[in-house]
Symmetry: C2
Subunit: 235 residues, 2 copies
């Protein structure tokens, strides 16, 4: 399968982004893209794009670019499990339901297979195309249906117990939206989506770089220069 090892989280995230940006440009086998064009779409440098693709083993051709079909299959080779992966979402509140809607039927190889909640008003039916079960069924269903991932969208008071339940039921990775950090064994991968931190970070940097320091500062969130000029004048 995937012979390439040791790809950093940052690179994985970019690969996911590259794929989304490349898909609409994949028209037939004759479609190519230059590193600097993709770089501009992705908001990164051309060097970074080339380096990322180097790790995939995807080779480009000078003055021609990368064949988009190659890139897409190279990325899929890394990101997608051959037999697909299933996730369980726990906590069908506003955020949980929004995620069900957001991810519903979007990919074949990775999808939310079932949702869980303690509220009887929410269970028993289908929400945004996803079956919703009582939490008491979780352990059984995770095992039986081979669910590998858990998405936690419950209030923070219950996040840890839900995480424990998911882990003991056999999931190997968690996507946590609760505003805290989960305790977990080293065998489980946990990705935190911290909406509060994101909001406060924007607030901070939006004023810290108010009028001064417009030069340099290749901080995350601000554009950086490269081989060639990017984003020259947005308007």
């Amino acid at each position: 399968m995937s012979l390439v090892r040791d790809i950093s989280p940052r690179t994985i995230e970019r690969l996911s982004l590259y794929r989304r940006l490349l898909l609409p440009r994949h028209e037939g086998e004759g479609s190519y893209i230059f590193s600097h064009d993709l770089a501009e779409l992705a908001g990164v440098t051309a060097t970074q794009v080339r380096r990322d693709f180097m790790q995939l083993g995807c080779m480009g051709v000078p003055r021609t670019g990368y064949r988009i079909g190659d890139l897409l299959s190279g990325i899929s080779n890394i990101l997608d499990a051959p037999s697909g992966q299933r996730a369980a979402l726990v906590g069908v509140g506003h955020l949980g339901a929004a995620l069900l809607n957001h991810f519903s039927g979007r990919w074949r190889w990775l999808h939310i297979h079932a949702a869980f909640d303690t509220d009887p008003a929410k269970t028993g039916g289908t929400i945004h195309g996803c079956q919703c079960f009582p939490l008491t069924d979780l352990s059984h269903l995770v095992r039986e249906r081979n669910i590998e991932l858990g998405i936690i969208t419950v209030p923070k008071e219950h996040a840890q117990e839900v995480a424990d339940l998911l882990i003991t039921s056999g999931v190997r990775g968690l996507l946590n939206f609760a505003p805290l950090r989960l305790r977990h064994p080293a065998t489980i991968y946990v990705e935190n989506v911290d909406l509060t931190s994101a909001f406060e970070t924007v607030a901070y940097f939006s004023r810290s770089r108010s009028s001064s320091a417009l030069i340099s500062e290749p901080h995350r969130g601000f554009p950086s220069l490269d081989d060639r000029k990017l984003s020259g004048g947005c308007f």
Copy 2:
């Protein structure tokens, strides 16, 4: 105001997290916490915690710890704008509504002041306590009400135009939930919350570190060791 400069995005995110973890423990002026206790709550190392607080100018006392009140005011001093900050959310779909609910009335100094949508069915009223206006009012209201931040939860087809509109209307920072990267001038800070990348990242690492490589690997998402033992046995 904040005399401290050049705090990295990573540190800012942790400060936001520390504050949330500290607030419930702040009972009176006699409450203290050790760096390693907060580290465990935050899922980082004790050294990291100490270093972060060093940047705030918050001093602890050996064998006593840090006074929680000092930490909270130190963090607030960095994160919170003295006169508060307002955000506008654009795109009251499932995700937008969930965020309105999530952030509604949570903080004094930072809040979503108004929501915008093109759908007349959604505008004119209040959603989760937030007034919702037609998109055509955005430019006017952003200016008049001094809104500094934009939250973009529109479909990707409209994300760039909404960003442009927000920027020309005067916001200085964007929190982008659309699954692409926005073009923007260097004076604007943009934080991307990429739900798809997050989901695919969990999927990737949940299987890449399946049964092997349980040792070391202090990668993001996996726990790391430190001065003292953390998370010794989750169950």
